[in-house]
């Protein structure tokens, strides 16, 4: 009964959001806070962000160009609802299928609600959602609020924070926050996001962050206090993460990122006394109107492993408004565990030896608040066909 009631409540309750699309630089959107509540992009949209999502993101069927059109009535929260200015609400419902050598699986990938309430310069916000993963899966778990460790549903919260804007260009926040690092992409399983543990799926950390956004420079630095949704304390990473990005041309940006954390025990390798770091460069470039390039390369340091590296290059070509073709090339050598090296365990792809992968993708923003995506992913472990249907309310 509850398994049927839960989605009904989610539908009644869950508002909408859009992904952060770093390739919006093709429309000369170099910074993020004009469209997003998060000063570095992602999750809750501002009213302006909703309007631009309708004008620039989705496929148009009225024959008008974006600059000639007005945002449709369906661009608001829950398609047609108006919200008072201090209130921003959003959410995502995402269903997915995977076909690989393990067979076919269909599953609810995301069921999240987002929101932010503002009182002058002060604001608070966050997200709540539901997730259900197999016992051995590493995703979703770090964002759990409830404590089911098996295949049961769990309540999750990826973000929650208090914050204030000051001096026009600064935003300070404290809470559980997306880590400021690298290119903020939608593909949370890209090696660059997984190996640096900086995705927006569940790699958020508790801490305090200061962001700066101007026309030519943006950046954010965060002091990481640990993830208190992981127990015991030895598994909590503490340190810093930051990025700085400069506009080197009107539609080209170059940035540098750095992250360093200490933990008594690593939650993924179970090694002890771990000092982990990631340091690198990233770029966003609009080559021409339809083509945007995103790229990132990072050195990976880990006191329990040999030196590693990861990176990706993604081209996004918009054939017509709302229809994108993407080609992503990625690489990873996460380094080999020193303890494995002592035991003469042979190096393998991604662990002491480089691994290479490629994604061929298509994404179609076919209606207001709705998109679908297909990815063909080729990696050393084999081929995966991945499809998604996404609705933000």
């Amino acid at each position: 009964m509850l398994s049927l009631l839960l989605p009904l409540i989610v539908v009644l309750f869950v508002p909408a959001r859009a992904e952060a699309y770093s390739w919006m630089i093709r429309h000369a959107y170099t910074g993020c806070p004009v469209c997003h509540a998060d000063p570095s992009g992602g999750e809750t949209l501002t009213p302006y962000g909703r309007a631009q999502s309708d004008l620039l993101l989705r496929m148009r069927y009225d024959g008008k160009k974006a600059e000639e059109a007005e945002p449709s009535k369906a661009s608001g929260f829950l398609w047609f609802a108006d919200l008072p200015p201090p209130v921003m609400l959003g959410g995502s419902l995402r269903g997915a299928t995977i076909v690989n050598d393990a067979g076919f699986r269909a599953f609810p990938m995301q069921m999240d609600l987002y929101g932010q309430l503002r009182f002058g310069s002060f604001f608070f916000g966050g997200s709540v959602g539901a997730a259900r993963v197999a016992a051995g899966v590493v995703h979703s778990r770090p964002a759990q609020l409830t404590a089911n460790q098996g295949e049961q549903f769990n309540l999750i919260s990826r973000n929650f924070y208090l914050g204030m804007d000051f001096a026009e260009k600064f935003t300070a926040r404290v809470g559980r926050l997306n880590l400021p690092f690298g290119v903020r992409v939608a593909e949370h399983t890209l090696w660059a996001r997984e190996a640096t543990r900086t995705d927006r799926e569940s790699d958020q950390q508790w801490g305090a962050a200061l962001a700066y956004n101007s026309e030519d420079v943006r950046g954010e630095i965060m002091g990481i206090a640990g993830n208190y949704q992981i127990n015991p304390d030895e598994f909590r990473e503490r340190g810093y993460s930051f990025y700085i990005e400069l506009m080197v041309a009107s539609r080209a940006a170059l940035g540098v990122s750095s992250l360093y954390t200490l933990a008594g025990r690593d939650r993924l390798t179970l090694e002890t006394n771990v000092a982990r770091g990631a340091h690198g460069l990233f770029t966003r470039i609009a080559i021409a109107d339809p083509l945007a390039l995103l790229g990132e390369v990072d050195l990976l340091t880990d006191s329990t492993k040999s030196l590693g590296y990861t990176g990706f290059l993604q081209g996004d070509y918009e054939f017509i408004q709302g229809l994108h073709g993407l080609l992503t090339l990625e690489m990873l050598d996460g380094g080999q565990l020193k303890s494995a090296e002592l035991e003469n365990v042979p190096k393998s792809s991604g662990q002491g030896k480089p691994g290479f992968g490629g994604w061929l993708s298509a994404q179609w923003f076919f209606l207001p608040h709705m998109d679908m995506r297909v990815d063909g992913i080729l990696r050393p472990e084999g081929f995966t066909l991945f499809t998604q249907l996404h609705a933000f309310l």
Partner: protein, 205 residues
């Protein structure tokens, strides 16, 4: 009746349609790169463990995967070592064909895994002069006995509990919590929030 902004929200039929689609989709479980993501849960069930072992029991990464199975060859050895895959290789070596090896067309069932683990307790495994049932880490305790005791059969050190991984959620811990300390069921929490929202919207209307 005069129209209002509230009448422009998605219809009840649209909402119910999405809800039914979600209900159908909610029967699925998120997948990972692991060839058999259900194995940790199976092992927990088979041996009544307080946790699901991490994929590092048999794989070189927490994500698992067919190409990340620990691959230390089973060779002649005497004395304790850290395993590094002898357990995984023994399991594959002694399991019935086309089951645990990952070459089967379908993912093995819990019963198939249980049968394969059972064989580790009966097959002559260690290539030492004194042949015994499988003791993959050479610490003098059979693999099956270690699993039943919640210990890592691939780790020959003195402290080798299986339940060393993190637990997730606010106030989470390995042992089942007393009833009064358990967090509310997430479905019940969302149900309460949903009812509150409906009541709030009716009151405003």
């Amino acid at each position: 009746m005069a129209s209002s902004s509230r009448t422009r929200s998605p219809s009840l039929a649209q909402k119910l349609g999405v809800a039914l689609a979600l209900a159908a989709g909610s029967l699925g479980v998120s997948s990972s790169a692991a060839a058999f993501p259900s194995f940790p849960g199976y092992i927990q069930e088979i041996y009544g463990l307080t946790c699901a072992p991490t994929c590092l029991l048999c794989h070189t990464t927490m994500e698992g995967g067919r190409d990340k199975i620990k691959g230390t060859e089973v060779t002649d050895f005497v004395g304790p070592n850290r395993g590094f895959g002898v357990f995984a290789q023994n399991l594959i070596l002694h399991a019935p064909p086309m089951t645990i090896s990952g070459e089967a067309a379908k993912a093995p069932t819990q019963e198939q895994l249980a049968a394969a683990l059972q064989l580790l307790g009966t097959e002559l495994c260690n290539k030492a002069d004194d042949m015994t049932a499988c003791d993959s880490d050479g610490d003098g305790q059979l693999d099956v006995a270690e699993l039943q005791a919640g210990e890592d059969p691939d780790d020959g050190t003195a402290a080798d509990p299986l339940c060393v991984g993190p637990t997730y959620g606010c106030g989470a811990h390995v042992a089942p919590a007393p009833v009064e300390r358990r967090m509310a069921d997430p479905a019940a929490l969302l149900a309460a929030l949903g009812v509150a929202l409906v009541l709030f919207r009716r009151r405003r209307a």
